[in-house]
């Protein structure tokens, strides 16, 4: 069983190959460069190095968001087209869940991966490892980091925060949570594409044609349009 995973939902670009019980290849960069130019060459290089042909793949797993709209779309378009054209199952995994899996496996407490969504907001969710598998406690959402801190302060457990954007929100989180907050080390802030492959390995394939990113937010024009429509009805 060979699994190819693709994550382009934020600045980190990750591609991995999982073969049965072994991670045979993994490629990660965390630079502000164009994903559209670099993902396919990265997949090509990794598969070449690992002697895996496209037809050898048994499953494609992709980070489906939240994240940068364009970034997520690049990964999802490649993954869904590959899965469809090779007639292989496709699995989408939350971009936040990959973070949680990447840094929280041996952490006794809850895990809060996050990335910045501008103006004090973050994309985040709450996860926990229970008997070796990762479960979602609070669904992925978009909110102000100070509101998130208040919500988490009601939990009785330590919270592990992960993500490259932590420096932007760390002070706000610490102010409310004090030493309830634990911050992952810098080597843990890139989501591991191998964890993405592992998360998707045992999940069932999804309907490929209708597979779309989880943007969390409506497009701005659509949100405004709905707002106006609602006002007209009142």
């Amino acid at each position: 069983m060979k699994v190819l995973s693709i994550d382009t939902s934020n600045y980190p670009l990750g591609v991995a190959l999982l073969d049965e019980e072994k991670v045979i290849g993994e490629y990660i960069t965390n630079v502000k460069k164009n994903h559209s130019i670099r993902v396919m060459p990265a997949i090509d290089m990794l598969m070449n190095d690992c002697d895996v042909k496209p037809a050898d793949l048994d499953k494609i797993v992709v980070a489906k968001g939240p994240g940068s709209y364009t970034g997520v779309r690049i990964g999802v378009t490649i993954a869904k087209t590959l899965a469809w054209t090779l007639n292989k199952p496709l699995v989408g995994i939350s971009s936040l869940e990959i973070f949680a899996a990447s840094a929280g496996r041996y952490f006794n407490g809850v895990i809060a991966p996050l990335f910045d969504a501008r103006r004090g907001q973050i994309y985040t969710g709450l996860y926990q490892y229970k008997e070796g598998s990762l479960v979602s406690l609070l669904k992925d959402q978009l909110l102000l980091s100070k509101d998130w801190a208040a919500k988490l302060s009601e939990q009785n457990e330590k919270v592990l925060f992960i993500g490259n954007d932590l420096p932007i929100h760390r002070a706000v989180l610490e102010e409310t949570l004090k030493n309830q907050a634990i911050f992952a080390a810098l080597t843990e802030h890139n989501p591991r594409p191998a964890e993405l492959a592992l998360l998707g390995r045992d999940r069932e394939g999804e309907e490929i044609h209708s597979f779309v990113p989880n943007y969390i937010r409506l497009a701005e024009a659509e949100a405004n349009w709905l707002e106006v429509k609602k006002e007209k009805k009142l």
């Binding site: 396919m40 364009t70 779309r73 690049i74 490649i78 087209t81 469809w84 054209t85 024009a221 659509e222």
Partner: protein
């Protein structure tokens, strides 16, 4: 042995997602349409009065594999039969372009098929080859929502822009004037229809620019339309929309046709092509037909409406020639909103 080699058929898959149509086509030997599927998003964008880029990109992701599958089914071929995949590389909305480009790269990689990036306007021009074989040298008048250009071609795959708009595209001016007249989006067809019911009785400017220039400008015309409506309102007079539409359309067509006619003479072309979505405009079609249809020296080609608006058959047709000329793109192909058509000229 060599002389008995059978030339195999060339099959090109075309993919186009530069604006609000998700389109895939299969073209045989550069001229035969084996499949031509277009999923239009126009209904979704109507409520916003124009194309919203983020929403266009989202729709492309929803549609892309469905349209790909339909095209292959319609053509009745599999990947092993494809000679190359041609995809619109630019210009267009960057987020929208990226969906087609990345889908094309995924298929090319999965099946080891050559990839060819195509300029959107080269596609519009090559839509004509699906109707009639091209005769060089030729001139193409490209008029669409985003473009107004005169492109000269001395041979296949070689493009020279001799004139282009300095501000608004003709199609944009149509949409703006339609908005002034409270016509629904997209406004072009509505203006065209109204124009046929009215008389070009309102005086509007024609922007000829410097002597000898083949460039266009439509922003002055657009402002003149706005002023005409405002002035009438202030004097409590009512403008007849049909007459305004007819006068506006006449002004656009006069400039387009006169400059085209001059270029046809100067460049001594054998064929004149009309390309782009505004080629659907009845006023423009009949003005060109009046001017050139009786001229035995020059062949006028205007493709059917379905090939004038954005589609992937035209991308496949252009890709066919470019692939034959040795153009190929790598897996690092990107969507390029400002792509220059002359990138195709180096070979």
């Amino acid at each position: 042995m060599g002389e008995f080699m059978i030339k195999q058929d060339q099959w090109i898959m075309g993919i186009e997602t530069s604006c609000d149509e998700t389109a895939v086509a299969i073209i045989k030997n550069g001229r035969e349409i084996a499949a031509n599927i277009v999923a239009s998003q126009i209904e979704s964008h109507k409520r916003f009065g124009g194309v919203v880029p983020e929403i266009a990109s989202r729709h492309h992701v929803e549609q892309i594999t469905i349209v790909l599958e339909e095209a292959l089914k319609q053509a009745g071929i599999t990947y092993s039969g494809l000679s190359a995949i041609a995809v619109t590389e630019g210009p267009g909305l960057v987020g929208a372009l990226l969906i087609g480009v990345n889908a094309a790269k995924a298929i090319a990689f999965a099946h080891g098929i050559p990839l060819v990036g195509v300029h959107h306007i080269a596609g519009h021009i090559y839509a004509n080859r699906l109707v009639e074989e091209m005769q060089f040298p030729l001139l193409s008048l490209v008029v669409s929502g985003g473009h107004t250009e005169l492109v000269y071609m001395k041979e296949h795959g070689h493009f020279e822009v001799i004139g282009e708009t300095r501000d608004d595209a003709a199609g944009e001016a149509y949409d703006k004037v339609a908005r002034i007249l409270d016509l629904p989006y997209p406004g072009g067809p509505h203006i065209d229809r109204l124009a046929h019911e009215g008389k070009p009785s309102i005086k509007l400017p024609r922007a000829w620019l410097e002597e000898g220039s083949y460039d266009f400008s439509f922003s002055g015309l657009k402002s003149a339309v706005i002023n005409t409506v405002h002035n009438a309102e202030q004097r409590g007079k009512k403008i007849v929309p049909e007459d305004l539409a007819a006068s506006f359309q006449q002004s656009v067509i006069d400039v387009l046709v006169t400059k085209t006619e001059r270029a046809v003479e100067e460049y001594k072309v054998k064929q004149l092509l009309l390309a782009g979505g505004v080629a659907a405009n009845k006023g423009l079609r009949s003005a060109l037909e009046d001017k050139f249809a009786q001229n035995p020296e020059i062949k006028l080609t205007i493709p059917p409406l379905s090939l004038c608006t954005d589609n992937a058959a035209m991308i496949g047709a252009a890709g066919s020639i470019l692939f034959e000329k040795g153009h190929q793109s790598g897996l690092d192909l990107n969507g390029n909103p400002g792509l220059d058509i002359t990138i195709h000229n180096y070979k």
